[in-house]
C-alpha cells in the first residue's frame, strides 16, 4: 500500500516519506470510569512521498482528514500506526532532542490568521519565539536583526515590530505567520489552508509570496486546501483524500485533465468555472448525500455509497492502490 513500493530509502531527493499512516481518535464515555466506545478513524492508512523543493497538494472535503494528516506528519498528534520520515528523521521514534531538530526543519502555517497568533504578544515576540526555542541566536541584537530580516522577506515593514496582531489585516497576519514559520530556516512547511480565510485580491499576494520564498530557500511544501483551482496553480503533484484515505494522486495537469477516480471526477466537476459560456457547456456529476461518518466508514471502497459507477464487489473488497502511469496512482476497482 505504499506510494512507491520502496522501503525507507536514504534517497536525498526525498524529504518526506509517509507509509500507511493512521490516526484514530478514541471516543470515550463515562465520567468516572472512562471506557472506550469507539474511534474516529480520521486518517486510516495514508502513504505518500514528497521530493525536495516540490509542492504536494492535499485536497478533499471538510472532515476527510487533510488537516489531521498535516498535524500527524509533524508529530503534533501522535500517530496510531505507520511510518513517518522527515529528512531521514523517524518522527514517531524521535526523542526530545531529535524532535526539536525535526521541529526546526519542519514548520507549519495555519489556516486562521486570527486564531494562530497570540493576541497578547508583539510581532517581535511572535516571530522570535522559534529563535529562542531553538537557541538559534543568543544575543538580542542578532535576534532583532533576524526578525527585521524576516519581516522584510514577507514584505512587512520592520517598523511594525512592536505592534500587536489585532492591528493587522488578515493578509498581514498571514504574513506574520509565514515569517514565524521561516524563522528557524526550515526545509519543509505544512501549509494548512493558508489562504482560505483571505479575500481574493489578498490570496494572490500570499500565494505569490509563498512561491517566491520556495524559490529563494528551496522549500518543500505540503499544501492542504479545498480550493481546487488554487491547488492546480501552486502544486506540482496532487493527492485527493476521501474519508481518511488517499483515493488518487498524480502530477497536477494529469490529475485535472485525466481524473480516473469517480470521486476526483465529481469533485472537479463541482468546481465552478469563472466563465459563463464554458460553465453552461460542461456537464456536472452531482454527488448525492453527504460524506459518511469516519467513526464507522463504509465497507470495501469508502466511496461506494455515493459512487455513480459502484458495482457489487465495491462494497466488499477494499480497492488496491494501483499505479496507472508513471506518476498516476488510483484506488478504484472500476478504473
Amino acid at each position: 500500500m505504499t506510494v512507491l513500493q520502496s522501503s525507507h530509502s536514504q534517497d536525498q531527493q526525498i524529504l518526506v516519506q509517509v507509509s500507511n499512516m493512521k490516526k484514530h481518535f478514541s471516543i470515550s464515555k463515562g465520567l468516572i470510569i472512562e471506557r472506550k466506545v469507539g474511534s474516529v478513524k480520521a486518517v486510516d492508512g495514508v502513504s505518500f512521498l514528497i521530493q525536495r523543493g516540490e509542492t504536494l497538494g492535499l485536497v478533499g472535503e471538510s472532515g476527510c482528514g487533510k488537516t489531521t494528516v498535516g498535524r500527524t506528519l509533524l508529530g503534533l498528534y501522535p500517530a496510531t500506526e505507520g511510518e513517518i520520515y522527515i529528512d531521514n528523521h523517524n518522527v514517531r521514534q524521535a526523542r526530545r532532542d531529535e524532535m526539536l531538530t525535526i521541529r526546526r526543519k519542519a514548520q507549519m502555517i495555519f489556516q486562521d490568521p486570527y486564531a494562530s497568533l497570540n493576541p497578547r504578544w508583539t510581532v517581535n515576540s511572535i516571530i522570535s519565539e522559534p529563535l529562542r526555542v531553538h537557541k538559534i541566536f543568543t544575543s538580542n541584537k542578532e535576534k532583532s536583526e533576524r526578525v527585521q530580516e524576516l519581516l522584510n522577506l514577507v514584505s512587512l515593514s520592520p517598523r511594525l515590530v512592536n505592534r500587536f496582531p489585532h492591528e493587522f489585516s488578515g493578509g498581514q497576519r498571514q504574513r506574520i505567520g509565514i515569517a514565524r514559520a521561516l524563522a528557524s530556516n526550515p526545509a519543509f512547511i505544512v501549509c494548512d489552508e493558508p489562504i482560505s480565510a483571505l479575500d481574493v485580491s489578498i490570496q494572490a499576494q500570499v500565494v505569490n509570496l509563498l512561491e517566491d520564498l520556495q524559490d529563494q530557500f528551496n522549500l518543500t511544501y505540503l499544501f492542504i486546501a479545498h480550493d481546487l483551482s488554487m491547488v492546480r496553480h501552486i502544486c506540482d503533484r496532487v493527492a485527493v483524500m476521501y474519508l481518511g484515505v488517499i483515493v488518487e494522486s498524480a502530477e497536477r495537469n494529469e490529475l485535472y485533465e485525466n481524473p480516473l477516480h469517480p470521486y476526483t471526477q465529481a469533485l472537479l466537476s463541482a468546481v465552478p468555472i469563472p466563465d459563463p459560456k464554458k460553465g453552461r457547456a460542461r456537464s456536472r456529476i452531482v454527488l448525492t448525500g453527504d460524506v459518511p461518518s469516519p467513526i464507522n466508514p463504509p465497507s470495501g471502497c469508502r466511496f461506494h455509497p455515493r459512487c455513480p459507477i459502484a458495482k457489487d464487489h465495491c462494497s466488499i473488497d477494499v480497492p488496491e492502490w494501483r499505479q496507472i502511469t508513471d506518476d498516476h496512482w488510483v484506488a478504484c476497482h472500476e478504473v
Binding site: G171, H226, I234, G279
Partner: protein
Amino acid sequence: MANHILEVRDLSTRFHIAEGTVYAVNGISFHLDHGETIAVVGESGCGKSVTMLSILRLLPIPPAEIVRGQALFLGRDLFDLSEREMENLRGRDIAMVFQDPMTSLNPVLTIGRQIGETLRIHMGLEKEVIRERTIKLLEQVGIPDPIQRLNDYPHQFSGGQRQRAMIAMALACQPSILIADEPTTALDVTIQAQIVELVQRLREQMNMAVIWITHDFGVVAEIAERVLVMYAGYIVESAPVDKVYENPRHPYTMALLAALPRVDRRRSARLRSIPGAPPNLLVEPTGCPFAVRCELVTERCRVEMPPLILHGPNHQAACWIDVSTGIPF
C-alpha cells in the same frame, strides 16, 4: 420600469461608532426584475451585506444610519413602511438566507418548529397544515426522511442540510424575492453544487427573483444573469453576466478576474495580485476608491468619483479611463 420588482435609488448607509463614521454604502442604485437572478460580487467589507440589510431594515439604528435613498418594492418605498408592515413583508415577500446556517438557526428549537414558525406567523395556518407543509418543504429541498428529521435539532443536521433547511424556511411563504447572502461560502464544492442547483430549480418553479451575494466569480458565472461588482461601498460595474467575463470595463473587475487561478486551464504564469488592501472606510471617500490600487490611475481619479458610464445594454462602469486603450474618455 414596470418590470422592476425592486428598485434601489441612491442608497447610503453609514455606521456611527466610537472611532468615527464608517462609510459603508455610498449612494448606490440598482434594480431587480421579476424572476431575474443578479449576483452582487465583492470582497469583505465592500458593502454587499449592508446593502441588503439596509433594504430589509434589519440594521440596528443607531449605530447604523440610512442617510438617504429609496428602496422601492413593487413601487412602494420600504423606508416609508411602519415597523409592523415591514415585519409582515419580511419572510413573506422578501426572504433572506444567511451565510452561516449554524448561527442563524436557533439551536434549542427543532428544525420543524423553526420552519413552521414562518408559516404560523405569516399565513396563520392550522397546526396540522403547518406540519404537512413543513414536510413538503423539507422534501422539496432534498432532505431525506423529512417526517423523521422534522423533530431533529440543528446540530443533528450536516452543514449542507442546515443550509437546505434555511432555504426551506426562506421559501416557506413563496417569496417573490430571495436574498442569499453567501449561502455556499462555508460549504464544500460538492455541496455548493447541490445548493446552486437547488436554488435554480426552485427559482424556476416559483418564478422568484434572486439576489445572490458572493465573492466567488465561479459561482457568479453559474447562477447570475446580471452582475453588480461592489468596491468600498460603491457599485463600480454592472453588466450582463457574459459581458463581465468577456469585456470587463472597470480595472477592479479586471484585476479580480486576473487574480483567479483557473481549474480548467494549465498554469501559464504567476497570479496577478492586486497591490495594497481595500481602503479604510472610516475616511470620507473622495475620488475613486480604487485609485490607490489601480494601474491606470490618473490625477482626476484621485479627486473626483467617476459616474457610471454606459458601455452597452445594461452595462455600466464607474471609471474615467477606457480600459481597452488606457486613455481617459
